[in-house]
Amino acid sequence: MQPMLHPLSGDTSDQAPSLLMIGIDHRCAPLALREKVSFRAEDGEALMRSLVTRPEVREVVLLSTCNRTELYLLPQEEASAYRMALSDVFLARAPEIESEGRFYVKRGSEAAQHLFEVASGLQSMVLGEPEILGQVKHAAAASNSCRSSGTVLRQLLKRAIGAGGRVRRETALGSGSVSFGYAVIDLARNIFSRLDSCKVLLIGAGEMSRQVARSFKEKGIRDLAVCNRGGSRLEAFHALFPDAQTVPYDDRQARVADFDVVVTSTGAEEPIFHHSDMRRAMQLRKSRPMLAVDLGVPRNIDPQAGDLENLFLQDIDSLEALIHQNLRRRREEVPRAQEILDRELARFQDWHRSLAAEPVIGSLQRWAESLRQRELAAARKRWPEEVAAEVDAMTRSLVRKLLHHPSIELRTGGDSETLQWARRLFRLEETPPQVETTKDGARHDRGSDDGDG
């Protein structure tokens, strides 16, 4: 993705305000720059609260993760909102962003499409990674709680979250592990019927072991043990995983049979498990399988042990092969994911287009209701109370039925010319065709957020 500089060149003030997004991500900015414009949850909420009070802005949502910071705006006036957001949110923290062209701007449907792609993991550093959907949900919840999003952005986020969920459910974009930790989980999941009841032994307490431990903890493993020669790394490990048991280093060979998954990542020059150690362990385990993952270089487990029945020995190369294969499979899923996003985006655009018809439909309903009331008031003088009540109910139903199809037609196919015709046809008062959203999130348009219109 090429960063865009000042895409709002030229006077845009005569155009209807459209969705606007300014962002910075892992593709156009290094970590050093990204962390400068990254917002913690409470800072992000404060920013949204402050921005939504600005006259240039109608609605605003901030999405800030470790790989991206993106500001979605529904501006009151596009050019000034763009200048304000860029300078207040990005340049104030990292002025070099502008000179180096390390940000991007998208408008209208491109901005909406971008958010859909972000929510589904298509824009992530690791294609299809699942955390981003949760982060988009958090951003939506935060903007709701600080009342910075209104009808349009709330609907956009809702649709993006829905689209991301569909991509996750209906494609294999998020399937297969793409990190060492999850690759070990993937292997274990293919061997053991219940991952949460597996006993896991980590030999070595360095970064690799921590990564694997984190993955296992996320999957609900309770029985985690660590074994390390030195004390300081072990303490650091226990600080992160206080529930983990400790197996003394010298007991490793005697205790290894107790564990279903053994992950080694030590810097030992010689194997710390010989073939005979593993054979004895497998004899003790009888018919229960064992997954042994050797992440050490040089290897910590004698490779010959891989021949033992029911012992599944993997090394760093096999894990890398698995990760590459999964990434390739994920890339193959991109066209299917894109198809889903296109359909969801079209639905959002239909809804967005229908918003322009709301003022006309509102006027039409008010006009019909006033006509009905006028005629009813005249009739009430002539008829008894119970007859008037009957007529009231009947005319209310009649008006509703008469306006049903015209309202649907205006919402689904109401271009500006059709809307003008409708105004002239019914002599409706002129109402500007604009989206009626408010900064406090209150609605002044039709129905609820849920409808497609």
Partner: protein, 279 residues
């Protein structure tokens, strides 16, 4: 329904049932290879519809000819296909696991296609099929064959996944099949069910043969091969129980045992036996 109407319905079902099984297998294939959400919903539903129609066909066969619906090779194969599909549907219902559907329904489809190819409109009248003891014998036998076929399929999938993880070469099977422990459990469960059914078939067959033949029936080649198969399965389960055999050996045994079952059901039946000439 008149006899003529039943004949027409049976002929139609002989054409449509293999097609339905094929459609079910394709549905499970779509789920397995493409993880298609529609296939995930449609395939189990279609399997249930197919099973209902198949059961109707078997009932119609019983009503039309007033005998146990295994009087011909075609009928026996169809009953086996039905039993395989029922066993799988029960496993799926209990485990909510669709990943092995492709293999099991393909197996059922294979038996049903064979059955249709060998279809005869009018099976020969067999007095023995009216004997309840013999019906129990044939029913147990077919159920046993179906269970051993299911066990062999799970054994094949187990060996495939086992060797992929061992050899560190991960294909499309990896991550899509149930874990090895689950496959092993399913395989051993099917073996046990098959062994019990085969025991039932041998016992009921022995009692019935004693009544009818009262002679040297034990030396019939089919019976000898079946007894050897029964002993083999029994030994496999025993060794597994004693933990002398692990998953891989049991999986190989399930495949070898099923090869013996096929040999017993096809070659011995056709070429070596007089006693089991009725199927």
């Amino acid at each position: 329904m008149t006899a003529q109407q039943l004949d027409v319905a049976l002929k139609i079902s002989a054409v449509f049932l293999p097609m339905l099984y094929l459609l079910v297998a394709v549905g499970y294939g779509f789920y397995f290879f493409a993880e298609h959400a529609l296939a995930q919903r449609a395939a189990p539903l279609l399997l249930r519809v197919t099973l209902a129609l198949h059961m109707t066909q078997l009932i119609m066969l019983g009503v039309r000819w007033q005998q146990f619906p295994a009087a011909t090779v075609s009928q026996a194969l169809s009953a086996t296909a039905f039993a395989i599909a029922v066993v799988y549907a029960l496993v799926e219902w209990q485990s909510n696991e669709l990943a092995t559907g492709l293999w099991m329904t393909t197996l059922a489809c294979f038996f049903e296609v064979l059955s249709s190819l060998l279809y005869t409109a009018k099976p020969p009248y067999q007095e023995i099929f009216h004997n309840p003891l013999f019906s129990a014998h044939a029913g147990f036998g077919l159920l046993g064959y179906a269970a051993f076929a299911v066990a062999a399929s799970y054994g094949f999938l187990f060996l495939r996944l086992y060797s992929e993880i061992k050899r560190r070469q991960f294909s499309v099977f990896f991550g899509k099949l149930p874990p090895l422990e689950v496959l092993e459990r399913m395989m051993v469960g099917a073996l046990l069910a098959g062994f019990i059914a085969l025991t039932g078939a041998l016992v009921s067959g022995a009692v019935w043969a004693n009544e009818v033949f009262a002679g040297n029936w034990l030396m019939d080649p089919k019976i000898l091969v079946t007894i050897v198969t029964w002993v083999f399965y029994g030994l496999s389960l025993g060794l597994r129980r004693l933990r002398r055999w692990q998953g891989r050996q049991t999986a190989i045994a399930s495949l070898a045992g099923f090869a013996a079952v096929l040999f017993s059901a096809v070659a011995v039946n056709f070429f070596f036996t007089d006693l089991h000439g009725f199927v």
